[in-house]
Amino acid sequence: MAGNHHPHEAPAPVGGNLFNGATLVCGVLIAIMIAILAVRFVFGLGAVTNLNDGYPWGIWIVVDVVIGSAFACGGFSVAMLVYIFNKGEYHPLVRPALLASLFGYTLAGIGVIFDLGRWWNFWHIFTPGYANPNSVMFEVAVCISAYIVVMWLEFSPAFFEKWGMKDAKRKLNKVLFFLVALGTVLPMMHQSSLGTMIVVMGVQVNPLWQTKLIPLHFLLTAIILGYGVVLFESCVAASAYRRRIEMHLLEPLAKIMLGILAVFIVVRFGDLLVRGALPLAFQPKVAALAFWIETLAFLAPFAIIGSPSARRNPAKLFLAGVAIMFAGVMLRFNAFLIGYDTGTGVDPGWNYFPSVPELMVTVGMFAIEVLGYIIITRRFPVLPREAVQAAH
């Protein structure tokens, strides 16, 4: 996967010690998560979560799966830029972005199992006699599973390089173009389908988010989030490993992100106006407040990195990345939980707030991502090689 057409620094392991404060904290959080999951898998969802009939899914689905997989769109967004729009100069960003995606999606795929009431039947969806091919869930499940496999293959050159499997790498390179194409189509399919699940829920979802265009919203924000995550991740990696930031790449990337973001905001508000749903945003309700927090977060990057000079400041790029990630989180939270009410007009009074064990499992999932990222970047060739390495 190392650039064949553009001369770049080949990726190299960062090196350094795997035992430090960050990995220790991650390890503890993961241990807590495993303990909670053990209870969950033996005694059922009711034993650890606050889920009920009105809210059959909570933060495990919304955060670990829906938001987790949206955060993991960096790989797809950057790959699209590099391979579809032939912007080869972004190539050094591909592998780190892909790594984050790989973790995000693999954990999202595993995270779904936590939320399945009868989890031992999870294989049914892949079994022709059991699966229902007309279901949105089926599309999402099969598509995400396929994408996880594709991504591991896309990323496998990093392992082949590490273990010196030159033959395997050469063979894989021949079919890589196909995997890259699949790796671009599949996420577009299921990121929009995640939005379609809102459409399926009908009147139970507040009109601020219940729209036929929500699949498009989810798709556009997934792409934007992908770039936002790359900004965030590059800045954090540079800060944590004391490396130089690829400002010459992030700066134009941020510009592209703002462009797509502008398109999204036009689509979002155009849709609200056409449907006449905008007045709902001015009612004194929690949903309206959540809507404005989401909207302000989507607008924030224009204020933070609107000017070319601001885009040269890594601190501002980082903040813009955080703002976009927060906005994407809010959109999904709002559509799936805050703007969602089962009992609309019929059976009110359903409540949901995640329990402590639920929260700790989600925290643990992110801890796995961080720990995995640290281990792989320190031991496998992912980040671009640097002349002076001061890893510790």
Partner: protein
């Protein structure tokens, strides 16, 4: 080859004649035949074959014997809710001997039986109603000087098919209840060299009898039977399986005594002793006794007594809880009133706040570091630019 298209029979004269004979409209007659074919579980097209057979085939001669019984089987057939049912039965068969229905009596009727048997040897259908006493040489039931055993054996010898109607002739029924003073048994204990189709029930649904006869008429053979001789189309499912109250059983909602709240609401009658879980019969689908819409015992609020099942009906006390044959009640039942969830607790809000705080703090630190290094870089660049300018 039997006809398989009901449409082709629309203008058939023989169908019209049969309908007229039965005082039905042609439409009702065809619908009735289709319903019969469906009851039998026959494939598509069989309805036409049934209609054609009923309309055109020569009526089989039937010898109907009565032994230890109450004549309920005959009664229920003659008093069926559908007024045409008995007409149809009496139309499709030639009833040559039936003690209840015949005007003749004594030696006259016995002579009629022997004549019919001789004339239709090897072709007539033998229907047995009532149990056969075996104790003391079978002396507890005699007709015209013959014991039931002798009479049954005599009639069965040249019969084309033998149908035992009702629980008594199927497995002994009510007369065989402990201590069984007459040693009553079913017909298949006496006739062991020929297959005996049993249609248990007290009384059995006339539809099940009629369907069996129509099957014989249409295809020249009796329907498929199980190990106990029962036609599979009627007795392969437990009453419990298709019961209209089954959802209440699964949800754990039971009537605990007659007239209580659950009983009034139509809950499951299992705890009142309903034998549905151990009784094979099609009562929930065709309704017991053809007594009219919804008026089968369970539909009326009385537990099934298991009348079709040997060892259950008349044997187990009516209110004794049934043995569950193919279903285990769940250990846990869903709640009737679901918990609607609570809001944030102190602990969960605190954890969420801590996570948010940690993320915000870490973000701020990273931003600060990045900002500082940016400032330093810019200062350095400015310094270099200044040095260049000086040079």
């Amino acid at each position: 080859m039997a006809n398989t298209s009901l449409l082709s029979l629309e203008l058939n004269d023989k169908i019209a004649a049969a309908a007229e004979r039965l005082q039905m409209s042609r439409r009702e007659f065809l619908q009735f035949c289709a319903a019969l074919a469906t009851t039998l579980g026959l494939p598509q097209g069989a309805d036409a074959a049934v209609a054609e057979a009923v309309a055109t085939k020569k009526r089989p001669s039937v010898i109907w014997l009565h032994f230890q019984e109450c004549t309920g089987c005959t009664e229920s057939m003659l008093r069926a809710e559908h007024p045409t049912l008995e007409k149809l039965i009496l139309d499709i068969i030639s009833l040559d001997y039936h003690e209840t229905l015949f005007a003749a009596a004594g030696h006259q009727i016995e002579a009629a039986r022997r004549t019919a048997m001789k004339a239709n040897a090897g072709k007539y259908v033998l229907v047995v109603e009532g149990a056969i006493p075996t104790k003391d040489g079978g002396i507890y039931c005699k007709i015209g000087g013959q014991t039931a055993i002798e009479m049954l054996k005599e009639c069965a010898k040249d019969a084309a098919a033998i149908i035992a109607i009702g629980s008594c002739s199927s497995w002994g029924g009510m007369p065989s209840t402990d201590p069984n003073p007459t040693g009553a048994v079913g017909a298949n204990k006496i006739i062991t060299d020929k297959p005996v189709v049993t249609i248990p029930g007290c009384p059995p649904n006339p539809y099940n009898f009629l369907s069996t006869v129509v099957h014989f008429l249409t295809f020249g053979a009796l329907p498929e039977i199980d190990a106990l001789g029962r036609p599979k189309f009627a007795y392969s499912r437990l009453v419990h399986e298709n019961c209209e109250r089954r959802a209440h059983f699964d949800a754990g909602r039971f009537a605990m005594e007659f007239g209580d709240d659950g009983h009034r609401k139509g809950y499951c009658l299992y705890k009142l002793g309903c034998k549905g879980p151990e009784t094979y019969a099609n009562c929930p689908t065709v309704l017991f006794g053809d007594a009219g819409g919804g008026t089968w015992p369970v539909g009326c609020g009385h537990p099934c007594i298991g009348c079709t099942e040997q060892g259950v009906g008349f044997q187990k006390p009516i209110h004794m809880v049934a043995k569950l044959k193919n279903i285990e009640p769940p250990l846990q039942y869903p709640r009737i009133i679901e918990e609607k969830g609570t809001g944030a607790t102190l602990g969960s809000a605190a954890v969420l706040a801590a996570v948010a705080g940690a993320a915000a703090g870490a973000g701020a630190m990273v931003a600060k570091n990045l900002g500082l290094s940016h400032q330093a870089e810019q200062a350095e660049e400015a310094k270099k630019a200044g040095e260049k300018a000086q040079v």
